[in-house]
Amino acid sequence: MAHQESVASDVDDSGRVSLMNDPKARGLVFQVLLIIAVIYLVYSGVTNAIDNLARAGIASGFGFFGERAGFDIGQSLIPYTNDSTYLRAFFVGLLNTMVVGLIGVFFATIIGFIIGLARLSKNYLVQKFATVYVEMLRNIPLLLQLLFWYKAVLSILPSPRQVGLEPGAEVVFSLNNRGLYMPRIVPEAGSSLILYALLIAIVAWIFIGRWAKKRQMATGQQFPVFFTGLGLIIVLPLLAYLVTGMPLSLEYSSLQGFNMVDGWVIQPEFMALLLGLALYTAAFIAEIVRAGILAVSHGQSEAAYALGIRPNLTSRLVIVPQAMRVIIPPLTSQYLNLIKNSSLAVAIGYPDLVSIFGGTVLNQTGQAVEVISITMLVYLTLSLLTSAFMNWFNSSVALVER
């Protein structure tokens, strides 16, 4: 410390400010204090909870993950039986949540873009339909919509026995109150070649796209990338299929006893949840898309037309790329909403994470603190991952300023 004779003596001989008055040092001190306070709060919260749980005689810890679950789950993407552990049940629920989230995001985006564009259509009927769609679906609570799809639409379908199916007879397609039954593709020996062919076709499509872009930049010549790629994706696997001697067969479902067996089934709970989530979120996405397109100044298309670019290309090359900059950030929020809203599944009996883990597992083990905090952590992680992906995507389409 420097000697202090006057007000100005905060500055010592070497011209340095005393630590007391250095804004940087003070800031650092307060930040450290804040961090200590936060750590203490968390620490005391955790120890308090552990003490209280112990005093109340409630089992705690994460040992339950290794125990036998002992209950069955209606829909599972990974092998699961009642002999599996709680950990496996957790993953079954997590995957069920993720699959409905991913497929929901996919359909919500497609429907949302179509409806959003339709709202801008000059066709009276199309435009009014889109308006009614948006105004109706986004103004009715999602839970009610889910119950509508489940109870008012899918539940009143007849049961397989009532449909009048012949017991044992193979059915190509059947929609009844036990689900949507379709043939399942059964791979046989040598069928992996078809998968490889498909992968090769996709990679080829990407390379052709890059090559065509480079060529167009250099020479101005265009190449029909889309149709070439589409052709590749159809022809290559088909060739592989024929060459390997058609190693795929279809497994049909049939009515046996109480239920349909075999085939590929989509359960009504999943259908209702997907319909509800996709249609509801699509209404919001439609508005975002409309706003994004309207945000591109009219002068842009006029300028494009003045250059002789056709309307189709104008929207693809001029309007949409600029609209995307406006669309993507709010679109991310809608994706996050959709994923989190999937927890409403519990109301219609779809075995998602909240239903299996936050419901059955919580009740069997009685460990509310552990189970609920893990469930919250999972949703947090899913949301952050989605955000991270969308931020990356956003930066790749953002306007590059020179």
Binding site: G45, A56, G349, A368
Partner: protein, 340 residues
């Protein structure tokens, strides 16, 4: 969604240390201070705990709560009810949101030992069964392989179902819902072929279906389901009160004391009756209540037999036979330790 929020709030409450009030403080003092018993019941199971058109709750589980209120306050109506799903019930009790859980809850070892809870007795001996449509032409649970089964989540039912099908080498598709009403609606809509829960519940649920006569309960009973009231562990006084309210109702039936003759019985010279009604001894004091605690219970709620007949007995639409729930002296299992 309410469910999730409730569990979450309960979780947070435990973290924040509020759970301490639930765990160790004297529940009786809390109850006396607020002036009523907060009783956790089902979301509606006729005969056990269900609200009527006017919103008044009735049923044998409800009557036990009313009995506790009568013992504590001398007023059976000093009860507030929290309708809870199977999933919410233990968290609600652990967190101190309710004082007693009287909600057709099966007494199992894990629940008794791992959840920080105690079962105070068996109010109703039940067993799990199956209900099917008569049109299926099924007359034994062993013919149910391949069926879709509707079941409520977070119940022992779900586990018994798994065990039973496994033991008999049969398969099934579980259709699991959180709320009883949702399971009922799904079964009624033919989403599943079979409904499984406790047999008493099946009889009660059958009445609420759109065409009760088209359904039948299969004869197999696949589990032991002793249903009883639950309290938090670590408060022996409150545990004793709940336990002895139940025992008093059983003892009253055994001694022939009913809500109608209890006033005459006050003059009885039978020492057993005198001890029950508080004319002799200080049994009320020893559980922190007034000496006429059992008198109030019997006067206002009745003995066990009256309670049974009124809610689920032959005169009700449920028409459940006393069966194993008869007194031990009449060939049943209901047996209360003596008051002495």
């Amino acid at each position: 969604m309410k469910k999730k929020i409730l569990s979450a709030v309960a979780g947070v409450a435990v973290v924040a240390g509020l759970g301490a009030t639930g765990a160790s403080a004297a529940t009786l003092d809390d109850v006396k201070a607020k002036g009523f018993v907060q009783c956790g019941v089902s979301t509606g199971l006729a005969g056990f705990s269900a609200p009527n058109d006017a919103g008044d709750w009735s049923g044998i589980d409800v009557d036990l709560c009313r009995g506790i209120a009568a013992a504590v306050f001398g007023d059976a109506s000093a009860v507030k009810y929290s309708p809870l799903s199977a999933k919410e019930r233990f968290t609600a009790l652990q967190s101190g949101e309710i004082d007693v859980l009287s909600r057709n809850t099966t007494w199992t070892m894990s629940r008794d030992t791992q959840l920080g809870l105690n079962f105070a007795g068996v109010n109703y001996y039940d067993g799990q069964g199956f209900m099917v449509r008569k049109s299926l032409g099924v007359n034994s649970a062993l013919q149910l392989s391949g069926a879709s089964v509707c079941v409520q989540t977070g119940t022992t039912t779900e586990l018994n179902l798994t065990d039973y099908f496994k033991a008999n080498d049969m398969t099934y598709n579980p259709v699991v819902f959180e709320k009883l009403e949702e399971v009922n609606a799904a079964y009624d809509a033919n989403r599943c072929d079979v409904y499984t829960t406790d047999q008493s519940g099946l009889y009660s649920i059958r009445l609420g279906l759109s065409a009760p006569d088209e359904h039948m309960v299969l004869p197999e009973v696949i589990s032991k389901e002793p249903l009883g009231p639950v309290v938090r562990q670590g408060d022996d006084q409150w545990f004793n009160i709940v336990k002895w309210v139940h025992n008093a109702m059983l003892n009253a039936e055994e001694m022939g004391v009913t809500s109608e003759n209890v006033d005459e019985m006050l003059n009885s010279t039978d020492p057993n009756v005198m001890r029950l009604l508080g004319k002799e001894g200080t049994f009320g004091d020893s559980i922190g209540l007034s000496n006429d605690w059992a008198y109030n219970v019997i006067k206002q709620v009745g003995n066990y037999g009256e309670m049974f007949e009124r809610n689920v007995g032959a005169s009700t639409p449920l028409a459940i036979d006393r069966g194993v729930n008869a007194l031990w002296s009449k060939g049943g299992l209901q047996y209360a330790p003596p008051i002495r």
